[in-house]
């Protein structure tokens, strides 16, 4: 039936829909592509000593990672580097097979001539996948043999990875479906040239970008699973340590973490609040600078007040040390000029830390933030000013009734964005200025997640905090967008 339908379509040049088998084939290849990045199904984990977070992809590219915990067995010659090179080679052949399959799946979007050519790829690719699995299995048996011989099963813990079954099943299914697909397309008449519809061609050319986006922006969401497990670095996730929503409840029920959370949220909201409360400063900066008559002076000020924006927070901290540390400028100045012996370390105290952080942020950012408003002022129609002056407006009335309203739309967008980002102050500034004395008041949410998650290794609880923050952040953003649409009739995202 499929074939009967095919012929007239070819003649009239109407685009024929993909066959069912073809879609299954592509899906299987897509699944195989995803599985490459999931450590749970890594067929290359031939020893339990190999880090359980190692995916097939890592196995194929990083010798250091797979042998990280096997230094001693390697040194004692219970296992040999060759066995692991074989393992890497097997993983690489497997990966190559998947890539070949993927090329075929992409080509199968073309016309019949292209489909015919394309149908060979998954065939070759799935065979290569099976070959790669064979090589991995060979390296497993070889490791098992030498280790058993040395009697060191406990030190190396050879392990038959279940991933081999998973990949073998996928490879066989790809093989079968591509054979069927081949059988179907071979009976079709083909065109003179290999061609592909433009929409698919464009999509395939854009796909690498999407792939990278998926890998680094969407795949991390899969990491949210850690929030539901009793997980410590190096553990395996299984039903044994599945704890459901325990950590979510823990966060609010455990008095210590609840206190921490309240403290951190207070810091976060105060710092963001101060930032929002002073968000008019760049406008004032721009408006006042526009009042200066000498354009040379304007350029001079603009040039030098913008520089701090381009240095990192680490350098800002270096400056802070140079100026405010006990052997810094302020103390030296007091000693040398006024004869007051002083060695106060202004950075060590927690006094007014919120204000200090705000001032550093302002020092670094106000010149830069003002640029958008300076550009905005330059863009205001001069006729408006003339008209205002004719109506008798003075200098301040011009500012108040022409300049400020002209800058308001930009300011609104900025304000809404900063309200949407109220929970994310970034961590660099607070990390560099953090010390034992001011930790309680300087720790914002981002820094807290870093401190408990990466430093202390409390993966589940920090993931819970991260998830909540992400969800609240996106909700706030959509609310801000809704407000913007309602008030200004324009969306901000």
């Amino acid at each position: 039936m499929e074939l009967n339908a095919a012929l007239p379509n070819q003649v009239t040049g109407v685009k024929k829909r993909s066959t069912f088998v073809e879609i299954i084939n592509r899906l299987l290849i897509l699944i195989a592509g995803f599985l490459v990045f999931f450590p749970q199904v890594n067929p290359g984990r031939i020893s339990l000593k190999i880090n359980q977070n190692t995916s097939l992809f890592t196995t194929a590219i990083s010798y250091d990672t797979i042998t990280a915990s096997l230094a001693r067995p390697l040194r004692m010659k219970w296992v040999t580097p060759e066995q692991f090179y074989t393992l890497m080679a097997g993983a690489a052949i497997l990966l190559l097979g998947i890539i070949v399959c993927a090329v075929g799946a992409c080509m199968s979007l073309g016309n019949n001539r292209m489909k015919k050519r394309a149908s060979f790829f998954p065939l070759a690719g799935s065979l290569s996948m099976l070959g790669g699995l064979g090589v991995i299995y060979y390296s497993y048996t070889s490791v098992l043999a030498t280790v058993t011989e040395a009697g060191k099963l406990n030190n190396v813990q050879p392990n038959f990875p279940n991933g081999i079954y998973v990949f073998a099943v996928v490879a066989v299914l790809i093989l079968l479906s591509s054979l069927v697909q081949m059988f179907i397309v071979m009976r079709r008449t083909s065109e003179a040239k290999m061609e592909m519809e433009e929409k698919y061609r464009l999509f395939l050319m854009f796909m690498p970008v999407l792939f990278l986006t998926f890998l680094f922006s969407y795949l991390p969401i899969y990491g949210w699973r850690f929030a539901f497990f009793d997980y410590k670095v190096g553990d395996t996730l299984s039903m044994d340590n599945f704890v459901g929503l325990k950590w979510f409840a823990y966060l609010f029920e455990n008095p210590a973490t609840r206190m921490d959370l309240v403290r951190v949220l207070r810091n976060t909201l105060i710092m963001s609040g101060l930032g929002i409360a002073t968000s008019w400063l760049p406008i004032a900066f721009a408006v006042l600078l526009a009042e200066v008559r000498s354009s040379k002076f304007q350029r001079f000020v603009q040039t030098f007040t913008t520089i701090p924006n381009f240095i990192s927070w680490v350098l800002v901290y270096s400056f802070a040390l140079a100026i405010f540390a006990s052997d810094g400028f302020i103390n030296n100045f007091l000693t040398n000029v006024f004869g007051i012996v002083s060695d106060t370390d202004y950075l060590a105290s927690a006094d007014n830390i919120w204000l200090k952080m705000l001032l550093w942020g302002t020092w670094k950012g106000v010149g830069w933030s003002a640029i958008i408003y300076i550009a905005g002022i330059a863009g205001i129609d001069q006729q408006l000013y003339e008209a205002a002056r004719v109506d008798g407006a003075g200098r301040w009335q011009c500012i108040w009734h022409v300049t400020i309203p002209g800058l308001m739309p930009t300011y609104c967008v900025m304000l809404l964005m900063s309200i949407a980002g109220i929970l994310s102050n970034g961590m660099e500034q607070y990390l560099v200025f953090e010390n034992a004395l001011n930790k309680d008041v300087i720790e914002v949410l981002d820094l807290y997640v870093y401190n408990i998650g990466i430093k202390d290794g409390l993966i589940p609880i920090s993931t819970v905090v991260g998830i909540s923050k992400s969800l609240i952040g996106i909700t706030l953003l959509f609310c801000a967008n809704r407000v913007s649409k309602a008030v200004r009739g324009e969306s901000i995202i």
């Binding site: 854009f206 970008v209 680094f216 990491g223 000020v301 007040t305 381009f310 350098l315 270096s318 990466i454």
Partner: protein, 305 residues
């Protein structure tokens, strides 16, 4: 000032006072902005003994540049500079190429499910899974303790893609059409028409990307914990700033240069200042070039999709 005579006459005394206040204010603020740079610099070129006694406040004394020469003895600094330079060049280059290509592709209305993919790309600017899941993901991909972690994740930068897209949309469509009629393929159109015409915007994203790469600290801190030779310069500086005392030891053990230079360098304060200056200098060098792109660059933060 002379040409504005008419205006000056109209000014009332109160205006003059206000103008003076404004000028004084801006002069002071500018001074505050540049003073730390100046202070650090004069302390790195002045006599080290005077510096350690805290006597160099405004005017350099006993000018010499041996501190900069002696930096070659600071352990691990060389590898950090190498890593940072490499990531700045490679990372920025790839980011620009990918942004240009992606920016061009998303202008193609004919692409299969274009608006869906475009939205999926843009939403990543506002949404992220969180620090720890991101870290676990990098761990899973094998991008920890790996130089590629500096390059690959930064290749797709949604802000920059939107910026390029907006710019390309302003290029007259007829240029592209005529090339297509002459038989140019999509990559050919990109290479011969879109790329050359988008140079202004590509220069903007390149220069801001380069500064971002040079200043990068967080990824090094999070991902390179077991490979100190892959630390970026900012990370290295952060470590030096936080380890006052060990620095002198690290320097004297490495040896190789005349003793006087080492003796001079033993002053950790000077070492910190000098390393800071080395980190700043490239920024100051590209800064005049950057200024030309400011107005376009600030739009980086204010574009909409």
């Amino acid at each position: 000032m002379k040409k504005n005579k008419a205006n000056i006459i109209k000014r009332r005394p109160i205006d003059i006072v206000i103008d003076t206040v404004i000028i004084v204010f801006f002069s002071l603020f500018t001074l505050i902005c540049i003073f730390p740079f100046y202070y650090l610099f004069i302390n790195t070129i002045s006599d080290n003994d005077l510096v350690s006694r805290g006597l160099i406040n405004f005017i350099p004394q006993g000018i010499h540049f041996s501190n900069y020469v002696a930096l070659q003895n600071v352990t691990d600094l060389g590898s950090s500079i190498l890593v940072t330079v490499a990531r700045t060049i490679l990372g920025t280059g790839l980011m620009v190429v990918v942004s240009a290509w992606a920016g061009y592709m998303v202008t193609k209305q004919k692409m299969w499910k274009r608006s869906f993919w475009y939205r999926a790309l843009v939403i990543t600017m506002y949404f992220n899974a969180g620090l720890v899941p991101w870290y676990m993901n990098m761990l899973m991909l094998g991008l920890t303790d790996n130089f590629l972690a500096y390059i690959i994740p930064g290749m797709v930068a949604p802000y920059n893609i939107i910026l390029v897209k907006t710019y390309i949309e302003s290029i007259p469509a007829s240029l592209e059409e005529s090339a297509v009629i002459d038989g140019a393929s999509t990559p050919r159109v990109f290479r011969s028409i879109i790329w050359p015409l988008s140079i202004p915007i590509l220069a903007t994203i390149a220069i801001f990307g380069a500064v971002g790469n040079w200043n990068s600290f967080q990824d090094s801190l999070l991902l390179m914990s077991n490979k100190p030779q892959l630390y970026t310069l900012q990370h290295r500086l952060y470590i030096y700033l936080n380890t006052y005392s060990n620095l002198g030891a690290a320097m004297s053990s490495s040896g190789g240069v005349s003793n006087t230079a080492i003796q001079n360098m033993l002053n950790t304060k000077v070492v910190k200042y000098t390393i800071s200056m080395v980190t700043i200098i490239p920024i100051l060098v590209v800064y005049p070039v950057m200024q030309r792109y400011f107005v376009k660059g600030i739009m980086l933060g204010a574009v909409k999709g």
